[in-house]
Amino acid sequence: MEGRLVVAVSPHIRAEMDTRRVMMGVIVSLVPGIAVGVWFFRWHALALLASCLAETLSAEALACILRRKPSTLGDLSAAVTGVLLAMVLPPTLPFWAAFLGGVVAVTVGKQVFGGLGQNIFNPALVGRAFLMAAFPVLMTRWVAPGPKVVTAATPLALMKFDHRATPLLDLLVGKVGGCMGETSALALLIGGLFLVLKGYADWRIPLSYLGTVAMLGSIPWAFRPDLYPSPMFHLLAGGLMLGAWFMATDPVTTPVTKVGRYMFGIGAGVLVVIIRLWGGLPEGVMYSILLMNAVTPLIDRYTVPVPFGGKR
């Protein structure tokens, strides 16, 4: 048997959770949100999902070929990016635009930095930010859920520009206009809790993110409830649930330290409230996360924990 013995450094056993399982866990946790999206937006949602996935996967494969690296499709990270991108796009977005978004998400968002784990910004949000800048009209054309294509404003736009509140129940169920996978707060919450309870993501960021939005959002509302939305509305409307549970928990682009994760969540929460209430846009989740992604290296640098036995 000599010569056939494997000699490797310890430990000689490994936990079952590997990168592929983590990514699979994220996809499974997204299923409730996707299901509601497909239920309300029908073939629009399916077409969007298909074109985003097709493009993120082929862009990943092509990037690996160009970089002369073994294929990384198996780690499923490109699939996660594709699904997440589809969920943050308007259901009626033409397939070619979704396609372009997918290319940018994977190549500019991830591969140019050196692939998985190396990127600074959340790839799906990079794709979305690109589409927002390139096709602002297409990216703000919303339809009401249901079989017929009827234009509708998002709850956040209604609130911002008309000071009209959408019933919270509709926000929970997702019977409102909005991106394909962001409308049902309840479905996303279920998926998010599954994600965290199964250990696929850390609970600190969603908790501090959502907590900050609720607390900060309640201050102006306490003074002028006629003008400002309630904290509950803040939590349930727009892309916050999707962003807090599934984008702000992307480990690659968020801090590795526990203190840093709280800081990330609080910072993103503050930004969301500021943009929603006083910015030019109705929604601020995407920029809040992208901006906090940018300061993540800085947060990590200044939150290195004191080791065991060190001076605290």
Partner: protein, 425 residues
């Protein structure tokens, strides 16, 4: 239940915990390395062709941090030459050929309270006792602390999966454990004696309590790896943190493994040198169990004693699966630090992926370090940054690599980094 921060929960696979310790009849040829401990190797004190008696010294410890070695069998010194070594790769060893069945070492009598501390230290040193938990640090050195000690802790955690040698020792040799503890307490002048045991060994705790008459505290600890790491153990039992770069004595504590305590008892009471130890043989063998093995017994011999290999063994590990050392060959001998020999089936293909910064390593590190930085800096050859990231505080428990979803061999990068940091000093 008392514990520490971080850590992991690997499957324990302690299938041999109900197997009583079984004495192995010695092989006809033993290979006794002159370096089986942390510190300077000892120098041969016998010559080729010389006849030796069981228990006779083969190597003399000249340095302070060193330990002599003895022959476990009577016979003739065949050669003194470099030989495969399970830890060092290759080291000078004394080969003795002889054999025959071994009877029990004659038991002596001792009153721990009447012995002078110096006498205890001397007998422990002469017997070549070293820490049997794995690190094999010379015990006599630990018994001569330059600082004042108030508590002696016996380590009965045995948090490594598969290993059950300590468990059986506590169960079957409880009185010798307690006597060893009292001898160590006497040697270092400590008032308090504690034994920390992971809560999954209630029978061992019961045996120790019965043997101790309430004189020492037997404390159950949370079942979590690496509960048996010295610093984690002290934290859990006394809520004291060994300062970074420091030793247990800096917080007034001496820690000994339970097996070491038995060796101390045998050395002081019976004058018996450390010539055999309990080894857990587990994994894919016919008769896994806990064996009392003469030091110097080749792994291959022990493998046959334990019923031979089953199909599909691809890895042989000395120690536990978390910190043990993978072996290249079965020609290596059992040494004083051999707590177990594991015959493991197929190893999962550990293809190293990119770090996804999931921070599992950070969350699970019992030393509260950032292993992700160690990998990054070691890959970037930033040795200066490695040191300021406290790499020298790492205890190499492997919790980080165990949980890493990208299968990065983090401990490899840490060992490399430590080597570089030391060499640049």
């Amino acid at each position: 239940m008392r514990s520490f921060r971080g850590g992991v929960h690997p499957p324990y696979n302690k299938a041999t915990q109900d197997r009583p310790i079984e004495r192995v009849s010695p092989p006809e040829r033993v290979v006794v390395p002159l370096s089986q401990h942390t510190g300077a190797p000892c120098e041969p004190s016998v010559e080729k062709g010389q006849e030796v008696e069981r228990g006779q010294k083969l190597g003399e410890a000249k340095a302070f941090i060193s330990a002599p070695v003895h022959t476990p069998i009577s016979g003739v010194v065949k050669e003194i030459a470099p030989h495969p070594h399970p830890v060092l790769g290759e080291a000078l060893a004394v080969v003795v050929e002889g054999g025959g069945e071994m009877e029990d070492w004659p038991r002596g009598d001792v009153d721990p309270d009447s012995l002078e501390p110096e006498e205890i230290r001397m007998r422990v040193r002469e017997a070549g006792v070293v820490g049997l938990g794995g690190a094999a640090f010379p015990t006599a050195v630990k018994l001569s602390p330059p600082k004042s000690i108030d508590t002696v802790i016996l380590n009965g955690c045995e948090c490594e999966p598969y290993l059950t040698a300590d468990h059986r020792t506590m169960l079957e040799r409880a009185e010798d454990c307690i006597l060893g503890l009292r001898l160590v307490m006497r040697a270092v002048g400590a008032e308090r004696g504690m034994i920390g045991v992971e809560a999954n060994k209630p029978d061992a705790m019961e045996a120790l309590r019965r043997a101790s008459d309430g004189e020492v505290e037997v404390v159950p600890l949370k079942v979590k790896y690496p509960q048996g790491a010295e610093k984690m153990l002290i934290k859990a039992l006394l809520d004291r943190e060994v300062p970074t770069g420091g030793l247990p004595m800096d917080v007034g504590v001496v820690v000994q493994n339970v097996g070491t305590a038995v060796a101390v008892t045998e050395a002081v009471r019976d004058g018996k040198p450390l010539i055999e130890r309990v080894v857990t043989v587990a994994g894919e063998v016919g008769r896994p169990g806990n064996y009392l093995v003469p030091i110097g017994t080749p792994f291959s011999y022990l493998m046959e004693v334990a019923g031979g290999l089953k199909e599909g063994v691809s890895q042989v590990v000395m120690g536990g699966p978390m910190m043990g050392i993978a072996q290249r060959s079965l020609d290596v001998p059992v040494v004083k630090g051999t707590s177990g020999i594991l015959f493991l089936r197929e190893v999962p293909p550990a293809e190293e992926g990119n770090c996804i910064r999931c921070a599992r390593c950070v969350d699970h590190c019992p030393m509260e370090l950032m292993p992700t930085l160690f990998v990054k800096f070691a890959k970037g050859e930033r040795w200066d940054l490695l040191e300021s990231a406290h790499i020298m505080d790492c205890i190499e428990c492997g919790s980080c690599a165990y949980v890493c979803p990208a299968r990065i061999p983090i401990v490899h990068y840490i060992k490399l980094g430590k080597l570089k940091v030391r060499s640049l000093k």
